[in-house]
Subunit: 472 residues, 2 copies
């Protein structure tokens, strides 16, 4: 309650700079914030109806059950794989059968990489078969593998200082996990930096908040002009063990075999469905998650949950017989994990219509019990979103944080469109992220119900308000 | 503090039944509990010295560092393996170099089983390579494997009800994890019960409090007269997925290959070292952990930690120049995981001396931050142990729980010797137990320091008190 009072005071202050009248959304509005607040408050009953249906009513557990059926049926859905394309076809049919509108597929060319067989065996100081997962896009090794001594470093700085030792070796990164964004640099850039100093391969400590000897894969990026060396992630446990061994002066030798191979780009699709707006059908609130995943686990959390609460948002609104003024567009992205490939092509195809995008939403950080909404946009838009989130008081998810983001919606956000993402327990998220452990076991139907209710209320109300969200 | 007041009142009540004089330990004592309390209080300075050395002094992190060196060097230590025998030889040398007394090895015949290559692939309803770990003592499959339809059950009761469906199938147990002791019945008895109803093999949901797609192995027991079918553990995730699939009516087919083989018993040793008692050298306080482990991870937690805080207890006492009246005997058991094989042979060899065992201690539930001590013994002995634990007030580990136990000390406890074990975070313990994740990464040097201090104070004071702990 204190939080909202505080927010309101702040907003009044902002508006007072404009003599009590504010210009929202490309100058189309002259309404006071008080008028907007009153408009939002009118959605209280709609919000309660959505919450009741999602959390307590006949739709409860639906997004979980739908997701379980898909991911049990097709498994993980790597870019370029048959299982991804099967999932897209199933979803296309699911959305049609659900009675959504303008259900269609938008063609995209996506990367096709396969890991093949892979292994890493420590030969010295003792024989130890290591868990390993090649990183996305990595080249393979020769069939006989790469057998080389190991150089363990904990940072790029240490690698630079010890550059003369790296030549001809396998560089093992044992970077600490202080945050995902810091640690992931080693996964993404580790091979390039190791190659620059003459290493033959690089093995990266999995970027994970918690481990039970679980390797976590992900994308990595080669650089033009730098040799493309094979690169894989190993477990936190093995990285730490080799770090201890190296600090004792032990010579470590590893044999790395990777059958990884890059193939020509494959055909894929972004999957789209809508509830067409009653008054401004050309205006859009976009809700989304990505349908592709890594090729381990089931891709249930990353990003099955995000994709399925997005679908659920439209289902809930449709089931209640609601039709917002603006079009609610569901997009299930393809090839997010390869760097938002599907989303980039969508952006290029649709950016001419950018002035009609009121809000872009993506859930790609888990659909556990939501802490709240992350939002990027003008202060005025934030004030409106904070009011909308007050409608979620019945399920106690009202907070609005900074930095709404998502690989797939960042193109729009960077171009000025307000963006929102769902925030939850990131320690839990990064325990399972990109690992064999990303399965339905991680998911909780009751938490998904609440996440879907948040997603539906926010997207519906923003899509139905008199005016688009104001931009900076 | 309240807790101890409560305990004291209870004890006074007990003693008052005996006119203020109590008979402790085989009737040798006529001292009042007040006298014993005063005796224990005199150990306050010794306890502080042990704590200071272990937690803040030059011995801090020593048990962790010693353990890391051993388990990094030899890896996991399965009964019958060369790495276990190497570990025993290293420890024999370590204990001699540490200056302990009567360091020797006591020969034991132990089981020799090897898992060989193993795999489980779901062929229907979709291809899915499953993580699998054969269970200790399991037979293997034919080289071509066993390919059969799956029957998923959640309990032995359900298996009985559906017995006609089990013939010729692979039984998958998806028992819930309500507690270790309940769930582990499925690991131990699952193959026998499945074989009784004609199953070809059994796959058991790993007995684990938490999972990142981590299989957890362990011992299983065949029964005479029941066919010995191959049996392995699978992940919580796969057990739950197959349960969902089965509930949807999907036909599930698995190909299971196990190269597991039982070999003739192998030669091994319990490893023993002592600080010989100054006054009653024939009387013993036994501190212990087991040196063997499963063949995955590093056996750092189960039971490297327990073995190494037990060694550390003697090191700390020796470093402080202390020599208790009774002998402090360190035993590092062999082949605990196969059912306390080393401990049984030790018991048979030494039980003639049972009246001289004051207390048997084993740490085999983790050496994280201790919650306290588990204790089994007479009320009078418990009252004494509670007083001893008050000496650990400086590190806030004073609680005494019920049910001191340990596979290796239970032979003595069942014969009436007081027994103590270390209790800590069992949720954490069973997250890593018998899995690839049982590595040094789980261990915390500061927590091991505290565990070692508890272990040293309890064992030293009980070994040095005027009288042995009273029995029932």
């Amino acid at each position: 309650m204190k939080f909202h009072v505080f927010v309101f005071v702040g907003v009044v202050h902002l508006l007072s700079l404009n003599s009590g009248k504010a210009v929202y959304g490309n100058g189309i509005s002259q309404r006071t914030f008080q008028e907007i607040k009153e408009e939002i408050a009118c959605y209280g009953d709609v919000a309660k109806a959505i919450i009741n249906l999602a959390v307590y009513g006949k739709a409860q557990n639906r997004s979980y059950e739908r997701l379980a059926l898909l991911v049990d049926t097709v498994g993980p859905r790597l870019s370029g794989s048959k299982s991804l394309e099967k999932a897209i076809q199933i979803m296309h049919q699911n959305l049609q059968e659900d009675g959504l509108e303008n259900v269609h597929l938008e063609p995209v060319k996506i990367p096709h990489w396969e890991r093949g067989e892979e292994s890493a065996v420590m030969l010295e100081p003792r024989i130890h078969k290591m868990a390993v997962l090649g990183l996305g896009g990595s080249t393979g090794t020769p069939p006989e593998g790469i057998t080389a001594e190991v150089l363990v470093v904990t940072s790029f700085d240490e690698l630079q200082r010890r550059a003369p030792e790296a030549r001809g070796k396998i560089v093992v990164y044992n970077q600490p996990y202080t945050s995902y964004s810091r640690a992931v640099q080693y996964r993404v850039q580790g091979a390039v930096e190791a190659a620059k100093v003459g290493a033959l391969a690089s093995l990266i400590r999995s970027v994970a908040s918690f481990s039970i000897y679980s390797p976590h894969t992900g994308i990595q990026e080669y650089q033009d002009g730098v040799p493309k060396i094979p690169t894989a992630c190993i477990t936190v446990e093995d990285a730490e063990m080799m770090s201890r061994m190296a600090s004792r002066g032990s010579r470590i030798v590893i044999q790395l075999k990777m059958g990884a191979k890059n193939y020509p780009d494959a055909d894929s699709f972004n999957t789209v469905a809508e509830i067409i707006g009653s008054k401004y059908p050309e205006q859009v609130v976009l809700v989304s998650g990505h349908l592709d995943s890594w090729d381990v686990g089931q891709g249930a959390m990353d990003d099955g949950g995000g994709a399925f609460i997005s679908w659920e948002a439209l289902s809930l609104i449709k089931d209640l017989g609601l039709r917002p003024k603006r079009t609610l567009r569901l997009v299930l992205w393809t090839a997010e994990e390869q760097g938002g490939i599907g989303a980039l092509q969508y952006y290029q195809l649709h950016k001419a219509n950018i002035s009609n995008y009121s809000l872009v939403m993506e859930s790609d950080l888990g659909t556990f019990l939501p802490s709240g909404l992350q939002f990027t946009g003008s202060d005025k838009a934030r004030a409106i979103v904070e009011e909308v989130m007050c409608l979620l008081q019945p399920i106690n998810v009202t907070q609005v944080f900074r930095a709404g983001e998502g690989t797939d919606i960042n193109f729009w956000i960077q171009a000025g469109v307000p963006g929102a993402s769902l925030l939850d327990d990131l320690y839990k998220y990064f325990s399972f992220h990109h690992s064999h452990g990303d399965t339905m076991t991680v998911m909780d139907p009751k938490q998904m119900n609440i996440a879907a209710a948040v997603w539906a209320v926010v997207s519906y109300v923003i899509a139905d308000m008199e005016e688009m969200l104001p931009r900076s």
